[in-house]
């Protein structure tokens, strides 16, 4: 039952292995800029080729297996990635409304969160594009995206906020009825209702057609 390899590694762990050094403070912005630039340039291939190409010049013993593996992966990955890109590259997206998201009057955090939301229509479906900056880092908690009505009584969860991308509005849910975009901080407590801790909020300038 005891994994001997694992135990051997555990026994070999030195103090050095536990030391953690923070990277330079500006490293994240360099990474973000590089990733953004590549996204803007429309790069579609995954980086497995990079690993593979370099692996060829590095005389590792596993070279042949690695190259084969990388080749297969590249094909699979290119196929997997091609579909969403093909959809998003079509210029059939209409922006219906946009609003800044602000932390004003909400829970306070070390760095003030900000963001923006756009309601877009694509191929007859409505989506919310949400971007949040200065996301609070609370271990164990996650962010959740909500649409709320102007009385702040009715609300609909659009699910966990997992990054700056597009979230589908559930069928029958309209931004006219629920114009307030809210991103909340949720503990992983299994309680499906809003935690009451909002990170950012903003109101989409849409008129209530049903009123």
């Amino acid at each position: 039952m005891v994994d001997e390899h694992l135990v051997a590694i555990m026994r070999a762990v030195e103090d050095n292995d536990r030391l953690r050094e923070m990277p330079p403070a500006d490293l994240w912005s360099a990474i973000e800029a590089e990733v953004r630039a590549e996204s803007a340039a429309g790069r579609t291939e995954p980086d497995v080729e990079t690993v593979g190409t370099r692996a060829i010049v590095v005389p590792l013993r596993r070279q042949r297996r690695l190259v084969t593996f990388v080749g297969a992966l590249a094909v699979a990955a290119a196929a997997a990635i091609a579909i969403p890109l093909a959809v998003s590259s079509r210029n059939e997206v209409t922006v219906l409304a946009a609003a800044p998201l602000s932390n004003e009057g909400l829970a306070s955090f070390d760095a003030t969160p900000t963001g923006s939301a756009r309601l877009v229509s694509s191929h007859g479906n409505e989506f919310l594009e949400v971007s949040v900056q200065n996301v609070p880092d609370r271990a164990g908690d996650h962010l959740e995206l909500w649409l709320i009505d102007t009385q702040v009584k009715g609300m609909v969860s659009l699910g966990p906020y997992t990054g700056n991308h597009r979230y589908a509005l559930p069928t029958g849910v309209s931004a006219e009825r629920f114009p307030i975009v809210d991103v909340s901080l949720e503990p992983a407590d299994g309680v499906p209702t809003h935690s009451g801790v909002s990170v950012v909020r903003g109101t989409l300038p849409v008129s209530d057609r049903s009123a």
Binding site: V2, D3, L6, V7, I9, M10, R11, A12, V13, E14, N16, D17, L19, R20, E21, M22, P23, P24, L27, W28, A30, I31, E32, E34, V35, E38, R43, P46, D47, V48, T50, V51, R54, V57, V58, P59, L60, R61, R62, R65, L66, F69, V70, L73, A76, A77, A80, I81, V135, D137, A139, G140, H142, P160, Y161, T162, G163, N164, H165, A188
Partner: protein
């Protein structure tokens, strides 16, 4: 740290559930894709990746290797499978390639040889792999709540039986067993995805 109160157990369970949740959340989110996931992964694991790079490289080269690791991870995100192991292990696996590249580059640029031991690549690689394994195991242990970590260490480093640990810590036997299982699972997830990058399985 021997705990003798029963109440201690419940708190550690909660704490562990939260930690598990964060790491699993990053793994699952990364597999699903999106811009924000890279930042989450960076915030959680950049110190691990950078520290791993620092074991072989100067601070400047380690920063370069760390940057390349995360950019490469983002480009290759569709190849990451959260069922095969953790993002932490996967990143360290990518970082290993980036370190080797930096060492080779530094070796080529005559004059700039402020890098660590210049050894033949296969030896360097073997050493890197061992460092990676140890750092990932240390990372996994560090992520565990104190009680779970102590139980795991007593089981594997002190060779105590589960019954002995239960008695020493005044914990139910079932708790000791589940702590050990959790700790082993965490370490395995880190190591499995690390080796997945190399072996291609």
């Amino acid at each position: 740290m021997v705990a003798s109160t029963r109440g201690f157990g419940g708190e550690a369970d909660d704490a562990d559930a939260k930690v598990d949740d964060v790491d699993r959340r990053i793994d699952i989110a990364f597999a699903a894709g999106g811009d924000g996931v890279l930042k989450d992964a960076y915030e959680r694991y950049s110190s691990l990746v950078f520290s791993f790079c620092r074991r072989s490289l100067t601070a400047d080269l380690a920063a370069d290797a760390t940057q390349e690791t995360f950019v490469s991870a983002w480009r290759s995100r569709s190849t990451y499978d959260d069922t095969k192991g953790s993002v932490a292990g996967w990143l360290v696996g990518i970082a290993r390639f980036k370190i080797i590249e930096q060492l080779r580059k530094a070796g080529r640029d005559s004059g700039v040889v402020e890098v660590a031991a210049q050894r033949p690549d296969h030896l360097q690689d073997g050493r890197l792999e061992q460092v990676a394994d140890r750092m990932l195991v240390a990372e996994a242990l560090n992520q565990l709540p104190d009680r779970v970590r102590s139980v795991v260490e007593m089981a594997f480093l002190e060779d105590l039986t589960h019954a002995e640990i239960a008695e020493r810590c005044s914990l139910p036997l079932g708790t000791v067993k589940s702590d050990v299982r959790r700790g082993v699972e965490r370490m395995r997830r880190h190591l499995e995805s690390r080796s997945g990058v190399n072996h291609g399985s």
